[in-house]
């Protein structure tokens, strides 16, 4: 189940392909692999007899972030906060309304076509069964993308990657998805993503459906593959412990907006946005003598149709004041820690919040 299981011949089969990403580096090591600027996606809700647009779901609204080469960015948030939509926009599964996606210095739709982008960006989905074609064998599934893109020896590639993710090709190559367990299927999905020799892999809740003991195995595999193939990950999850374990930086989303971005250690020490703090205190305590006594937030997240004006979190925020209802906070670096960004009037001395510039009270 690990790299040591590989026979030398399989090892050699992988090596030439791992060398490829280096030569594909166009912008140099300092250029972020992905830059997203003001990304926006609104879904119309149609209804009535004539099918007119009744309302708009503001799924992703003005999201900007960067992912450096070789780093793992974790995206967290509750359901409906736009994390999956962001991922889908990033690999062009849905069309964006506005905003720029710049991949290694090349703008998507300008110098970079969608087809070329997909050679470099692959995705692993949550539902390991729904994302595999039930009528293709595992080997055909893994080799499919490589065939479509016209890469050499797709089947050989598929078999060597299956071995790499811990599935013996002789035993599994001719099986169908329904003959595999959830953990094995998710390994197939990972192998399929890697068969394209991508540089960026977007993992959308890729381990959430797995049992805890299997989840740990897949997380180990993902860390190994990242080192071996020089990958960059965007890791989407609602499980903060998993995100902390695998990520270098964490991005927190709420109702289609980024509320906080920070290196993992920094955000674990201090959550600068009141929403992030609530999300962290909602984690089960793991200490039977010191259980959670108060729920950090009341009610469910609001509907992303017609989100609140101003700061979208003000309806559930303990520290909300008048200014929060009208003025949208800007995402900016904290004083004394510029890598730690938060979008909250409490951190902006000029915002007009009565406690502006003092940070989030305890």
């Amino acid at each position: 189940m690990s790299a040591t299981d590989l026979s030398p011949s399989q090892d050699q089969a992988i090596k030439p392909k791992t060398a490829a990403p280096e030569s594909r580096d166009k912008g140099g090591p300092g250029q972020p692999l992905v830059i997203v600027r003001d990304l926006q996606k609104h879904f119309p809700v149609r209804g009535g007899v004539l099918g007119r647009t009744q309302a708009v779901v503001q799924a992703v609204d003005g999201v900007s972030f960067e992912v450096k080469k070789g780093e793992t960015l974790g995206i967290v948030g509750e359901s409906g906060c736009g994390k999956s939509t962001t991922a889908r926009l990033l690999i062009g599964l849905i069309e964006r309304d506005k905003g720029e996606i710049i991949f290694d210095g090349q703008g998507l739709g300008e110098r970079l076509s969608l087809k070329d982008l997909r050679k470099d960006v692959q995705m692993v989905f949550q539902d390991s069964y729904a994302s595999l074609n039930p009528r293709l064998t595992i080997e055909d599934s893994v080799a499919f993308g490589a065939k479509v893109q016209g890469l050499d020896d797709p089947n050989g590639r598929a078999r060597s990657l299956m071995a790499r993710v811990g599935l013996d090709p002789d035993r599994f190559a001719h099986r169908y998805p329904h003959e595999l367990s959830g953990g094995q299927r998710q390994r197939v999905n990972i192998a399929r993503a890697l068969a394209m020799s991508p540089r960026l892999v977007v993992l959308d809740e890729a381990v959430s459906a797995l049992d805890k003991s299997v989840e740990a195995q897949v997380l180990n595999l993902l860390s190994d593959l990242r080192k071996e193939f020089g990958l960059t990950y965007i890791f989407i999850s609602h499980d903060l412990n998993v995100v902390r374990y695998i990520s270098d930086r964490i991005l927190v989303m709420y109702l289609g907006e980024v509320v906080e971005v920070a290196p993992v250690d920094s955000i674990w020490r201090e959550q600068a946005h009141p929403y992030t703090r609530s999300l962290f205190s909602a984690m089960p305590s793991m200490d039977p003598d010191n259980r959670t006594q108060e729920p950090p937030l009341a009610g469910d997240p609001p509907n992303p149709i017609d989100p609140p004006k101003g700061c979208r979190f003000h309806t559930r925020c303990r520290f909300a004041s008048e200014v929060c209802k009208t003025k949208v906070p800007k995402l900016m670096g904290l004083s004394g820690n510029a890598d730690h960004l938060a979008a909250c009037h409490l951190h902006d001395a000029t915002s007009g919040h009565p406690k502006a510039g003092q940070g989030v009270p305890q």
Binding site: M1, E78, S79, S181, G182, G183, Q184, D211, K212, S213, V214, E215, A216, Q217, L219, N220, S223, H238, L240, N241, V242, R244, Y245, V264, D265, S278, L279, A282, M283, P284, S285, M286, D287, P288, D289, R291, T292, Q293, E294, P295, P296, L297, A298, G299, D300, P301
Partner: protein
């Protein structure tokens, strides 16, 4: 006082094209008003245990041996009217997916009232006022208005509150909760857990809470039973399980929770996958995945050690560790 729950040597097989040995010789007891978490992975038999308790398994395809008693009632012998009275009256259940468990064509008030009318034989008006009271107790804001809402008009957290209100409307002695918070967001999950904790105190009922998340078990329960391959491998109070787990499987689960793991460090993952249960286990089911397994583990079923009353570990290795303490 009679025990709230007493399961003796429960063995359960599903017959069909292939046989699945879902539960193998499980014994479990609960005192009145206790909260017990059944912890385990998918396929470990947690949900099947709950369904057996309510007699919800298809009788033609299921073979059950052993004894289940709730408050002194032999559950397996119940049928017809008696079973109907027992379900929802004595014991009731909250399911994982409230959107599927609630009837989409009736208002939530109607559904709660229906169950009250059936069990208590009261008038519709009285039943509706009980329903309103229940919605208040599960802290649904403006309950009066919500009473006349259909399930699709409510959010996920709100629907789960309605499910809880429905389950508790007839004041059962035992509440079965089958992963009721798994489909919910983290901030809503903690609200529901705290609500269940409060209601449990208020009503003094027993709760069996099925979960795969150790963190959730810690928040909700006094006692934990860990299941693996249709057997209980370890049982004890929540702090005993969290602080001094003895079974290698429990230890592996705790490690896989990633609560205190150093970032980037290699995880101490349990290798392999759970067994398929097509044959009845005749040795330790966990041995193929266990780092400490010996020939003894593969030869026979592991002995069950009880280091203290109501604490047990089904592992060969547990005894010397206990003796050393």
């Amino acid at each position: 006082m009679t025990k709230l729950l007493d399961i003796q040597n429960l063995t359960l097989r599903f017959k069909g094209k292939r046989t699945v040995h879902a539960i193998n010789d499980v014994s479990l007891s609960m005192e009145q008003g206790e909260t017990l978490a059944l912890l385990g992975e998918s396929g470990s038999g947690k949900s099947v245990t709950l369904k057996a308790l309510l007699g919800l398994l298809p009788p033609k395809r299921t073979e059950i041996e052993g004894k289940i008693e709730v408050n002194g009632t032999d559950v397996l012998s119940l049928s017809g009217k008696k079973l109907q009275k027992y379900r929802g009256g004595e014991v009731s259940m909250v399911f994982q997916e409230p959107a599927l468990a609630l009837d989409p064509v009736y208002t939530v008030g109607h559904q709660i009232a229906e169950s009250v009318m059936r069990h208590k034989g009261v008038s519709k008006a009285d039943a509706m006022s009980t329903a309103l009271d229940m919605l208040d107790r599960v802290r649904i804001p403006s309950a009066n208005r919500r009473l006349h809402n259909y399930p699709h008009e409510l959010s996920g957290g709100m629907r789960q509150r309605v499910m809880i209100a429905l389950a508790l409307a007839c004041r059962p002695r035992l509440l079965l909760a089958d992963e009721p918070t798994t489909a919910l967001d983290a901030t809503v999950q903690i609200q529901i857990l705290l609500l269940l904790r409060e209601l449990q105190k208020e009503f003094g009922m027993g709760v069996i809470f099925v979960t795969h998340d150790i963190g959730v078990a810690v928040e909700i329960s006094e006692r934990v039973a860990v299941m693996y391959a249709g057997q209980i491998v370890e049982e004890g109070t929540t702090s005993e399980i969290i602080k001094s787990a003895k079974h290698p499987y429990t230890q592996g689960l705790l490690a896989a929770n990633l609560h205190d793991v150093e970032r980037g460090a290699r995880l101490n993952a349990i290798p392999g996958a759970p067994p398929s249960l097509e044959t009845k286990p005749d040795s330790c089911s966990f041995a193929p995945r266990c780092a400490h397994a010996t020939a003894e583990c593969r030869a026979a079923l592991p002995p069950v050690f009880t280091p203290s009353p109501r604490r047990r570990v089904a592992c060969v290795k547990a005894e010397p560790a206990v003796a050393a303490e």
